[in-house]
């Protein structure tokens, strides 16, 4: 259920993002989804890739500061209010969203959104018991 997300510390200077994606590209690692949180000095780049362990290894070799975080990918109805119903459900179960970002591609009629929760397991059980589809890790990395 859980997906390994790679987080990378990058300084806010030109060309840095390209170096990260360049390292991954050269090693044949494909980026599935990404989000960038930044301040004026530095940013945190979060990636879902097709081979997270390999990505972790090559990025560390290139002396990037990297960590792995567990996130989950959820199928959200691609219709008005689709996301709201899911967020309300999580709120009822006292699960907080730390951050979230969307996948570029759809699966069937659904959009895919990556979530980081403060309580991942509680989120999984709440969502599953209410029929929300959580995408298996291998599905996500192979989209």
């Amino acid at each position: 259920m859980k997906v390994e997300q790679i987080s990378i510390f990058i300084e806010n200077k030109s060309g840095r993002l390209a170096e990260v994606t360049g390292v991954l590209g050269k090693t044949g690692i494909n980026i599935r989804a990404l989000s960038l949180a930044d301040t004026s000095d530095f940013g945190i780049l979060r990636l879902i890739v097709d081979d997270s362990q390999k990505a972790l290894k090559v990025l560390r070799e290139q002396r990037f500061t990297v960590s792995i975080t567990e996130v989950i990918g959820i199928e959200v109805p691609d219709s008005p209010g689709g996301l709201t119903s899911i967020l309300q459900l999580l709120d009822q179960h006292n699960v907080n969203v730390e951050y979230m970002y969307a996948f570029a591609e759809r699966v069937g009629n659904n959009a895919i959104i990556i979530f980081r929760f403060d309580n991942v397991d509680e989120a999984i059980s709440a969502l599953s018991s209410h029929g929300v589809k959580i995408l298996p890790s291998e599905r996500i990395t192979s989209i």
Partner: protein
């Protein structure tokens, strides 16, 4: 405390205070005569001050002579300060020379013997015996560190692994396979080793390491705690500078209550760095050293620029030699920011108190609109990297708050990527002052 007290040269290291002073006076007279005969720079100093070597009747009379500074060495580059012809010199060493020309120093056969003896003394005090396998991870070359410790270890009869600096993975492999028991390196490299061990899942208990002898850069008590815990060793400090001899000028015993200074070979004074006045016993100030037995490169009242304090109480280990506190910083490292004295070591201590932060940092001092600004760049590592922006920013805010409290001036903390801060010969460059550029 139930620690074994091994003393390499019991007679010299436990000499009563009055006898130390007598020996120092005799050797000082000999050294002054030597330089007055052989070294033009000192001949000029005697002439200018009107003081002759024969005028020295007490150790305090030395105050009549001017100081020797790095500038004197620069002017007399390369061999102008040597007191013997080159045929008697058997070794040349040199300082790193990060600014301008390096400093060149020389040793006669007797000088090398003395140096070896003094290193054997502090290594013994730090717990090294002939049973040890000494892993020397200093750079072998012009820098005095590696050769000094190398000869001292051999004198003790320990087995030396002259591994040299760098190549951390190979260092760890050799440490595991060859069963290194005593580690010799800079304290910052000690932490680099600890980091790599953690990453590779090598438990400190799985190594044979017992003691660590760290020198060549100032380090804090917090850093000692971290080195001891993460490497599973007893960590001691030692002090030296190539202009005086190299490592062996002073070193801690296992009681870790200050570094015993080899007073039978060096005369120490503590001065006010601004006025040059000699300060009373127990004061904090700049250490000034005079060599008492050196032949090739004698130094009279050399300003070390290191800030410390001397304690003349007899140590519980039995040694009578004065103990020098860990250096608090260098007079040339001391920064005056918005009128406040700031030492890089203070910043190091603050960074240590924030859990998990290893000390790869650099201070950038600048002036904007006639106001000084201090930026502390900290290399991010996996201990202080958080996936959540909220936590990452909180870390920066906490560090800035602590720094403001400890330093008395505000500082901006900037997180930078690993390996951004330049290292020179294994030493990190701590301060960049752009105010006078």
């Amino acid at each position: 405390m139930n620690l074994p007290v091994n003393i390499w040269n019991r007679a010299a290291e436990t000499l009563p205070r009055e006898e130390i002073r007598q020996l120092q006076l005799k050797r000082l007279q000999e050294t002054l005569s030597l330089v007055a005969n052989k070294v033009p720079c000192y001949q000029a100093k005697f002439k200018d001050s009107g003081f002759k070597p024969g005028d020295l009747h007490s150790l305090e009379d030395l105050h009549h002579l001017p100081f020797t500074t790095k500038e004197d060495l620069r002017v007399n580059y390369p061999y102008g300060m040597f007191a013997v012809p080159m045929r008697e010199v058997v070794r040349i060493h040199s300082s790193s020379g990060t600014t301008g020309k390096p400093t060149v120093v020389g040793y006669t056969k007797d000088d090398i013997r003395t140096w070896t003896e003094l290193v054997a003394r502090f290594m013994t005090a730090a717990g090294v015996t002939q049973e040890d396998i000494v892993h020397i991870a200093f750079g072998y070359g012009l820098f005095t560190g590696a050769f000094g410790l190398h000869y001292g270890s051999e004198a003790i009869g320990a087995s030396v692994i002259p591994i040299n600096g760098g190549n951390t993975d190979k260092q760890l492999m050799i440490m595991q396979d060859y069963r290194s028991s005593a580690l010799v390196c800079t304290p910052s490299y000690g932490l680099t080793l600890a980091d790599r061990m953690e990453k590779q899942g090598i438990a400190p208990g799985s190594l044979a390491l017992r003691v660590g002898l760290f020198g060549a850069e100032p380090w804090s008590e917090q850093m000692r705690v971290e080195l001891e815990q993460r490497l599973g060793i007893i960590a001691t400090d030692n002090y030296g500078l190539s202009e005086i001899m190299g490592p062996g000028v002073a070193g801690e015993c296992l009681l870790k209550q200050g570094m015993h200074l080899a007073e039978d070979h060096f005369l120490a004074e503590v001065i006010d760095p601004d006025t040059g006045a000699v300060l009373p016993e127990g004061s904090v100030g700049e250490l000034v050293l005079t060599s008492l037995t050196k032949q090739a490169f004698p130094m009279i009242r050399y300003r070390t620029r290191d800030i410390t304090r001397l304690n003349y109480d007899v140590c519980d280990c039995g040694r009578t030699l004065a103990r020098m506190e860990k250096t608090r910083g260098r007079t040339d490292d001391m920064l005056i920011i918005k009128g406040v004295n700031v030492f890089p070591t203070q910043i190091e201590e603050v960074l240590f108190q924030i859990e998990g932060c290893e000390p790869h940092y650099q201070l950038i001092v600048d002036r904007e609109n006639n106001m000084d600004s201090l930026e502390v760049q900290v290399e991010v590592n996996e201990h202080i990297f958080f996936d959540e922006m909220k936590q990452q920013r909180q870390f920066v805010i906490n560090a800035e708050k602590r720094l403001a409290t400890v330093l008395g001036v505000s500082a901006k903390v900037k997180l930078v990527e690993p390996q951004t801060i330049k290292r020179h010969e294994g030493k990190a460059i701590r301060v960049i002052d752009r105010r006078n550029q």
